[in-house]
Amino acid sequence: MTAELLLLQLANGLSFGVIFALIASGITLMWGIMDFINMAHGDLYMLGAYGVWLSLVVGVASFWLALPLAVAGVLAIGLLLRFTVLRPVFGRAPLQTLLATYGIGLILQQGVLATFGPFSKEIPFPVTGQVTLGPLRYPTYRLVVIVVGLALIVAAWVLIQRTTYGIWIRAVAQDRTMTAALGVPVPRVYTVVFGLGSALAGIGGALAAPLFGIGPTIGADVILLAFIVVMIGGLGNYVGSVVGGVLIGEVIALGAIWLQPTEAYLVALGLLLVLLLVRPQGLLRAAR
């Protein structure tokens, strides 16, 4: 093993981590403010990837046009679910949200399977070539993923820290009924969080599509890691989910030097279990 390989995998780990963080942050926010376990979150990620692919197939000229289209589509589907079948489920016990969203996820997967078939799709890299970063020659697209992903993560963080909806999101997470008693339209806060989470998952899927390929089960494949990330970061903790995402991304990328992918997953799980023994609340304290 050379230092160059190590450096390369560290960078790759960051690109994985950014994508995991995009998915996990939505799960953790939905949990944090509405005790909502979203089992369909991986499928929103999957739809983001399909959205990009479909846009390109029907003739959208560039990936950079297809990406916002795909995200808008996922956002629309997420909000549609929120206002139809999920509307009565908000505020119910976690088991009920889990079942409802699992059912929805299954329907989405089967719908995609029936429409687009079981075979995985590929889309070309929107930017090719490599950039030289010090001693490292690195694929440009992966760098783009890291930069765009981090920018979005920071933007969402600023939204949560600074804006009115951000304060409402944190207030609802800390005390839902008191927030309502101060006149805050809590259902609208739910909508914002559900929309934000869906959009982040869609962006994650769209950005990941050229790297990992597209298939009906990619969401189910990634949800395990996303939940591990959420638990490591502390349920409901946005910053924790970002840190956890990058951590797991690095574990998997570095693990890939010596291990098979599934073994690297197990290392990620092992990391979580060790963490649970040492710090049951997660990596950072569950400060909402």
């Binding site: 376990i37 489920v89 088991l95 079942l99 059912g103 939940f227 349920l235 197990l266």
Partner: protein
């Protein structure tokens, strides 16, 4: 629920008699499917100890069902061990994994428990999918068992679709039901019900709630493992399908529909629903659509199960769905 209420014993004996007659009404294929349904009924029964009696939401119960089946299958084929040691290996594997899952999951408060079980369930499914050398993947492990020496001198014909296999599974289900019924009425059962009713109070009364949660998960896990083994034996093979998250979700749905904590309700729901899914699978490749739709509909329409739904349709107040 209704004015006419036959005693529990009458219902049970009647149901048992009905189940005993069923395999004579069709061919081996019918018997095969019915046997599978009974094994899944045993699986649902064990889960009712977790969700229904203790109020513990675990989404990794099929993991234990499947690992039990695999433990036995690997013992019998890969290790070429005799029947009973293989069975013990299966039960041991399911119970051990149940302990591991329980041990780590109770360390996280409330909802963390659910998510930990989701993580374990997915992790085991991923491993089983990839480690095909051990599990046989989608094709599974074929159990070339034609006779099982249940006891010295008692060999039972255990081929796919044989009535003797059906009756063995039925007997095991009845025994397991008796065991669970006794357990629920025992001191342990009272503590488990206290945990479901009011966990902080149970904690304040000095019960080691975390330990009991692990214990019930291990007992139910071992029982689920038995269900998995019976399923595998009666079908002649064990595959990754037995430990999928999908099956873990299905058993939650069955338990809710049948009435959590009633023991018999989840068993009936499991038998009927699994027969329904089997039928759908035989007529369409898209049966998972229906499974997804049913899972969603249960939450939307019948969060208090069939009993609650009937109560609501008849205009009686039902407890809010907050289990």
């Amino acid at each position: 629920m209704s004015a006419w209420r036959p005693g529990r014993r009458t219902v049970l004996l009647g149901g048992l008699a009905l189940l005993a007659v069923l395999p004579w009404l069709g061919g081996p294929y019918t018997t095969l499917i019915l046997t599978a349904a009974l094994a899944l009924g045993l699986f649902a029964l064990s889960y009712d100890l977790v969700l229904g009696v203790t109020g513990l939401v675990s989404v990794s119960h099929a993991t234990l069902f499947g690992v039990g089946a695999y433990g036995m299958a690997i013992g019998m084929t890969r290790l070429e061990a005799p029947f009973w040691p293989s069975v013990l290996l299966g039960i041991g594997a399911a119970a051990a994994l149940a302990w591991v899952i329980g041990f780590f999951s109770v360390r996280t408060a409330g909802p963390g428990f659910i998510i930990m079980t989701v993580i374990f369930a997915h992790a085991v499914e991923s491993i089983a999918n990839v480690w095909t050398g051990l599990t046989g993947g989608e094709n599974g492990i074929i159990l070339a068992v034609s006779r099982v020496a249940l006891l010295p001198g008692l060999d039972v014909r255990f081929t796919a679709g044989s009535r003797s296999a059906y009756y063995v599974v039925l007997a095991c289900l009845a025994l397991a039901y008796a065991l669970c019924h006794w357990l629920v009425g025992s001191r342990l059962g009272l503590i488990l019900k206290a945990i479901k009713g009011n966990e902080p109070r149970a904690l304040a009364l000095g019960h080691r709630v975390g330990v009991y949660k692990v214990v019930v998960n291990v007992i139910a896990g071992a029982l689920a493992g038995v269900g998995g083994m019976l399923y595998g034996l009666s079908q002649g093979f064990v595959s990754v399908d037995l430990l999928r998250v999908l099956l873990s979700i299905e058993v939650v749905v069955w338990t809710i529909l049948g009435g959590p904590g009633t023991l018999i309700g989840p068993v009936l729901a499991a038998i009927l629903m699994s027969l329904g899914v089997d039928y759908l699978r035989s007529v369409t490749h898209q049966y998972l659509f229906a499974v997804g739709a049913v899972t969603l509909l249960v939450v939307l329409v019948a969060p208090d199960g069939v009993g609650g739904l009937i109560d609501r349709l008849l205009g009686r107040p039902a407890p809010a769905a907050r289990s």
